[in-house]
Assembly symmetry: C2
Homo-oligomer: 207 residues x 2
């Protein structure tokens, strides 16, 4: 009886470990294979503990999405900070970070897909997606404004760039053989050059 049968953890730490275990399970077996027992096994705890911390499996997946999304935001934010103050350099950093680990990875895509699955049938989760997406787009609009875009063009440009990067990210994670991360970077950068240039074809603003 020298080794304890289990160890008590801080509620927040335990929640966090369950969330991370859920992310690992999602990455390994996908959205279809995720279950309370698999998550508990991955976290090294009893199955009953999952229901003690989360109302249900859906709530845990939603919390996992929130955690993964904040991880992505953090990684991109760090890349932006490392890029310095120049707006165009920060925009490039956003693109580069989007196509490199940990943002671009099949494991992350699994979590995203599972969340999209839930969002289609659960209005509350759909709202969580909408809010996080709108928040990210607002930040991108601020960055584009710093790049010199006209206020009237900000909204559409942010939507277009978000869609482009997300589309490249999705396909890159889903089938890595179609094109490489370096190619995705190059494609996105070239497209950005054309998308954020002012309508009057002056091409001497950023470099």
């Amino acid at each position: 009886m020298s080794t304890p049968a289990f160890t008590r953890a801080e509620p927040d730490a335990r929640r966090q470990s369950l969330i991370e275990a859920c992310a690992r399970v999602l990455a390994q077996v996908g959205a279809a294979g995720v279950s309370v027992r698999a998550i508990a096994l991955e976290a090294g705890v009893s199955p009953g503990l999952v229901n003690h911390y989360f109302a249900g499996i859906d709530a845990l997946v939603a919390a996992t999405y929130g955690h993964v999304e904040s991880q992505v935001s953090e990684a991109i934010g760090a890349a932006l900070d490392a890029a310095g103050p120049r707006p165009r350099a920060r925009l490039d950093a956003y693109v580069t970070a989007s196509f490199a680990p940990p943002v671009a990875s099949g494991e992350l895509l699994a979590t995203w897909i599972a969340f999209w699955s839930l969002a289609r049938s659960r209005p509350e989760i759909a709202r969580q997606h909408d809010e996080q997406y709108a928040q990210f787009r607002t930040a991108l609009e601020a960055l584009l404004a710093a790049c010199g875009l006209a206020p009237a063009e900000l909204r559409h440009a942010a939507i277009a760039i978000t869609a482009l990067v997300d589309g490249l990210w999705l396909e890159l994670c889903l089938s890595p053989h179609a094109f490489s991360a370096a190619e995705a970077c190059e494609i996105a950068r070239a497209a950005l050059d054309r998308l954020i240039s002012t309508s009057r074809s002056t091409g001497s603003d950023s470099m």
Copy 2:
């Protein structure tokens, strides 16, 4: 005993009806709620019949994806034909058709998400996705070549435009409140204008 207990169907017709029932179930309950029994109930047949025509639920979902994908190709192909011979008009038709029913719809997204879920864990299904995607991109490259793009730029331009349209399509289906289909059209058209213009800023090649 005047009404028959069941009616015998042509094997191909029965397969087709099961595929369509699977698509409806996917649209209604999502990837998580799809099951042999739900599909059989939707198709009005016995549960055992599903396994009589398909090796398993995964095979049926894969077949459903193939069917839905061909429906999308057909819808876009029809839009291209209706647009006439001018390459730029055909490109615009591709964009317009991508953001209108039946291509842009939450039900279709449900099928896509279910298929992505499977593709992450089943290599054979991942290969099916790769092939269909590569095929579509090749067709787009041909259209871009007709628009006057240099051969060296075709590959990257096709990847960029596919990613842009897919990203807009995904977000439009996932959260219709963020922006409208008309806005998606406008954004994609404006981006296309900038993406397919030749590097030397001559704007008089196609119109």
